[in-house]
Symmetry: C2
Subunit: 216 residues, 2 copies
């Protein structure tokens, strides 16, 4: 559904409302910035997420202000952005950024059902690192009680991206300025064990959790 709020206003050729494009961007990331309004004051808070169809699961402390505000059913906005590169043109004006971004609108509700709550936590965990959930101690009852899990239903979403090199003015190509793209990506380093010896599991060493752009 495309309405006034999700209509792409700038450069609509860079955008897409297709669910597939939206989901690909959401699945390539793990950190969202969640927006909500309290008496006209916007709040933007970073949080992890997992996706199941058109639902995003968010979690945190049961005392979290954000989760309590969202659970009122107030309109929310969940934005996920991947930076893919700095686009360095010959003129200041044509500098740009390669990126992929989803802006999703909807509302969130707390999950009270115990089994659904555990399943949502599993989805978040597997979204972040596939294979980890089966390896660790699952949530105890008091841990479940201390954790709030919300399902954010995506009512509308738009995907927007930029790829490729700079687009300079014709006259500027003669300038003696280096131009091109500096690729940027979120990278995992070497796992740091916390002291007790054991080899890092395969799923960790091969973690494909970080966004990789298909092109610079």
């Amino acid at each position: 559904m495309i309405t006034e709020r999700s209509k792409l206003r700038r450069l609509p050729d860079r955008g897409s409302h297709e669910a597939e494009a939206v989901n690909r961007i959401l699945d390539a990331g793990f950190l969202a910035h969640v927006g909500f309004c309290v008496n006209g004051q916007p709040f933007v808070i970073p949080t992890l997420y997992g996706r199941d169809g058109d639902r995003l699961y968010l979690h945190g402390s049961a005392a979290s202000r954000m989760l309590r505000e969202l659970d009122t059913g107030a309109p929310a906005c969940v934005t996920v952005t991947h930076v893919d590169g700095l686009v360095l043109a010959r003129s200041a004006f044509h500098h740009s950024m390669n990126y992929r971004c989803v802006v999703a609108f909807g509302t969130a509700r707390k999950i009270d059902d115990r089994e659904r709550k555990i399943e949502a936590l599993r989805v978040i965990s597997e979204h972040l690192m596939r294979g980890r959930w089966a390896d660790v101690r699952g949530p105890a009852e008091q841990e479940l009680k201390a954790t709030a899990v919300l399902e954010f239903t995506i009512e509308e979403a738009s995907a927007k991206m930029r790829t490729g090199g700079p687009k300079d003015d014709a006259d500027d190509y003669a300038l003696p300025v280096w131009a091109g793209v500096l690729p940027v990506s979120l990278q995992a380093g070497e796992p740091i064990p916390d002291g007790v010896e054991s080899e890092a599991p395969e799923y960790l060493r091969s973690a494909q959790i970080f966004s990789q752009s298909q092109s610079a």
Copy 2:
């Protein structure tokens, strides 16, 4: 100034209102998520920024919806987040993320004065890549007209971060589960020239634009 909106509600020991901590986090990044409300509907939009004292400069097309909304003087929230690592504990519950984050509240106004506008664009450019501004063709008059530049004055801000390894329950240390930190950082790749030959300038090859955490 600390008020109800910026008071740290969760884990206040992870937070700081000190301007120095706030500025360090802002200066380590270049992408912000800007929140604003229109009739109770939150919007969260990614954008580049530069910092000058307690002001953040934002820019974009003069036709940008976000910039026009912000220029009404409506309350805004600018959030900058660096992901430093995934904290992998022995229990699902104690999984966490190492990060640094600033949530800043304030209002933004368009800069109309020509010289201040150019200076703000220079600050944004230098924030993103120091040394680039002197190298490129500066903005022409019609490019300046097509660009809106806003100054967002930080009225309140809080910094929050987590560092270090997992904190497991005493009983869980006996579990045969790999635990520790998977460091994560935004990394620049090899610059990709757009066709015209010329060696990448020193400032680009040594770009220190990407957030580096001091510890995992």
